[in-house]
Point group: C2
Chain length 310, copies 2
């Protein structure tokens, strides 16, 4: 049997209230699995896709995971290598949980592992972002970087891929609720005003800085005071009708903070301790249930592994 | 002779390129000196002001240092105490170096020391900010907090005075050049657009985050990449005609970054090592000299003491 590698890459929460387009963290689960193996045909081919309800293209150039892997193979001068790729989607699309980023990170890391790990995660990040760009249209790493590298990741500059893994205090746990509401990323971007008032920038900068200091100092109270999005959340909340009710329930249940995950509709909260986070997730889910909206819940520490061979 | 206390409080650089209204650091010098002593009259009186060319009012309610001290005395229920205050301005007004903040911090700390230090620096900060408000019109702490507490200070929220001293890597040295050009803070604020494009906020946030991470990690290269103001500096540079020439000279001389100090006209740079910082200061001063603009230069580590009894 030909050499084969199976890689898991996790879902992620981007923006994290205070870092629109520049902050994200990885979840333990859900995530996507990608299997790659050497094959007799020439070049990369996608042989199987599951869990996508037939929505994803088999054409390498149009598939997030395929394109990312192809870009890596081109960089390595290995485009003639016969490689077969299976994509097993194990997380929802359009959820605001970085589904395409997980596929892209898994695809590129699986191929890199198959070839004997010629490059580091930092070195393949660019190719994973290129894959994500197929799905999202923009070259940005706030989901891809955490999905690939793991951790809470700050991207100083997306174009330069100047990425930094931030310390995460023990006991910081995320509650994520994905309601079955459809929001397209482009719609979520469409509601955003192209401008904002200067005082809002000052508040947002202060909160971002407070969040980073809170992470470095393991200061949960400061993290809580800082987890406030005064720019993006007020504009996007309308896309998730019970958003403020869910947020209120999360905070009442003891969450440090609560906001929209990525472009939504998933909502995340951060809490101190797993028990609190479980309680918060239930409280958030309950609100959606009261509105007859089915949800999936995830309670997760920040995943420090990112894409990983399993 | 009645008990007497002499306090020095330093100049400071606010904004620091990436933290408009929320970041500032204290310089070793220049700064103001304030002497307070018990007196036979009732209440606080200003008995002497030097170094101000007659510009500062003797009326306590209208004087930055006097008003700050008076607010503290009211809080302590000590308004009947006979206290005499001498203010020795030893730094330029309207320089963008936090002159009024230094006076306010020195005034409030001197009185607190005279009374046997009933409160901590954190506890008197509010009163020092009230003093600064007399001069500046706004309740903000980006000069006052460093002048009082020392260090590189991030103010998450000015209203809440949620202030945090950031770590400063060994060898981070500031070069400051004060050109004899007049800019009023209200004019410097007047040139600012009330709005900004969202992509500029994203860049500014990324750079602020990079700066904070750079400080925590002692990563001078990251500090250098981050020290870029894409929002305020481009709007204010016009107020200091040779600004871009000065900045270019600073960077050519090896500075990590260079921008406007507070509302200007002073310009600061940060460098790795004192020798480099001296060289940078000379290069900056030279540009102003070429334009026949007289300057004062200061080369300084970040002052970790803030207001201090001398």
């Amino acid at each position: 049997m030909k050499k084969e590698v199976k890689v898991f890459a996790p879902a992620s929460v981007a923006n994290v209230a205070v870092g629109y387009d520049i902050l994200g963290f990885a979840l333990e689960r859900p995530g996507d699995e990608i299997i790659v193996r050497f094959a007799d045909h020439e070049g990369l081919q996608i042989s199987k896709i599951t869990g996508d309800n037939g929505k994803l293209p088999y054409e390498v150039q149009k598939n997030t995971a395929g394109f990312a892997a192809q870009c890596l193979l081109e960089h390595l001068g290995e485009t003639k290598r016969g490689i077969e790729m299976e994509i097993h989607k194990k997380m929802p699309f359009g959820s605001g949980l970085g589904s395409s980023a997980a596929s892209s990170a898994a695809g590129v890391w699986a191929v890199n592992e198959l070839l004997g790990t010629p490059l580091s995660k930092r070195e393949v990040l660019h190719f994973a972002v290129l894959g994500e760009q197929i799905a999202d249209g923009a070259y940005h790493a706030d989901n891809v970087a955490p999905a690939l590298l793991g951790g809470m990741v700050l991207i100083r500059n997306n174009k330069e891929l100047d990425v930094h893994q931030l310390p995460v205090p023990d006991g910081l746990v995320a509650s994520v609720v994905y309601p079955h509401i459809k929001i397209l990323t482009k719609d979520a971007r469409g509601v955003l005003s192209p401008n904002l008032p200067l005082p809002k920038m000052i508040q947002q900068c202060g909160n971002l800085a407070g969040m980073i200091i809170g992470l470095y100092q393991s200061d949960f109270s400061l993290i809580g005071r800082s987890l406030k999005d005064v720019v993006i959340e007020p504009q996007r909340a309308q896309l998730i009708p019970p958003f403020y009710e869910v947020k209120k329930a999360a905070l009442a249940a003891g969450a440090l903070g609560c906001s929209i995950s990525g472009a939504g509709p998933s909502i995340f909260a951060l809490s101190q301790g797993r028990e609190k986070a479980e309680h918060v997730a239930q409280a958030m889910a309950q609100v959606f249930n009261n509105h007859q909206i089915p949800v999936e819940e995830f309670v997760s520490s920040v995943n420090q592994s990112g894409a990983i061979k399993i």
